[in-house]
Symmetry: none
Subunit: 155 residues, 2 copies
């Protein structure tokens, strides 16, 4: 399982292409075959999974979701509709569909913020991200969660 971290900003070009930061690419397993899956994320951003990790996510969806439950069905549909498998070109770039760009507030000729979060990468519009981070500082967030879970002396 890859472990993404760190952030990088890359520009979406006029053709809707954007380079996946080299730092993130180097985390891909060979099993991913330079292929990724893009899906809408929970907080108006795009989630990028390496193909091999996505397989596992998909297996989890099959297991946990019940298609006879209307709410589950709607959730599944709304995620999978926009799921987009993309293979990196020789420059390490992918194409982002218009639907996903709209969803995340991205557009051509604008920057995209890649954030590595363990087993997936989030793609944000920098504007949306500044709104998001304005809410709380890393320190505050950490202390809140630390109250719930004792991380021991490691962190």
């Amino acid at each position: 399982m890859p472990r993404f971290k760190g952030q990088d900003e890359c520009k979406i070009d006029d053709k809707g292409r954007v380079a996946v930061p080299s730092k993130m690419r180097s985390v891909f397993n060979p099993e991913a075959h330079n292929t990724v899956v893009l899906v809408p994320g929970p907080d108006s951003h795009i989630r990028l999974y390496p193909a091999d990790t996505w397989e596992e996510v998909e297996a989890g969806l099959v297991e946990k979701m019940n298609t006879s439950n209307p709410k589950h069905r709607r959730t599944l549909r709304s995620i999978l509709r926009f799921a987009d498998e993309q293979t990196l070109d020789s420059q390490g770039r992918i194409r982002v569909s218009n639907d996903l760009m709209n969803y995340a507030g991205l557009s051509t000729s604008s920057p995209a913020l890649f954030i590595g979060v363990l087993n997936y990468v989030e793609i944000w519009s920098p504007d949306h991200m500044t709104e998001e981070e304005a809410i709380e500082s890393p320190a505050d967030l950490y202390n809140e969660v630390a109250a719930d879970f004792d991380m021991g002396s490691l962190f």
Copy 2:
């Protein structure tokens, strides 16, 4: 598990590079492969983990955090966003990202204070540190903690 202690001041150069004090470097395990991970710490400073220790921290995050929980997600994101893996150059230096420098109140061509705290190293702006330590003396702090935890005759 490494056991850092002591402090040292090193200068950040114009390129944002700073030497990890030799005293701290000598504590690294060979498994760290001269690689460290920098993350924002709970009090406006940078935390430095040797790569092998960070693996354990990360494993703890994976275990304790649930990405279906919005608050956990935000916390993970805000920490990992600025997480930066750096390999020491032949001079024992690392590069500090602008984001982390801002977070800790550091800047290029200014000194950075390295403080060894058992399994990680804290990197402070000397200015911030003097404010911090002006608040309470080691003796007061110790006595406060000793009220909570009996350290026995060891300390």
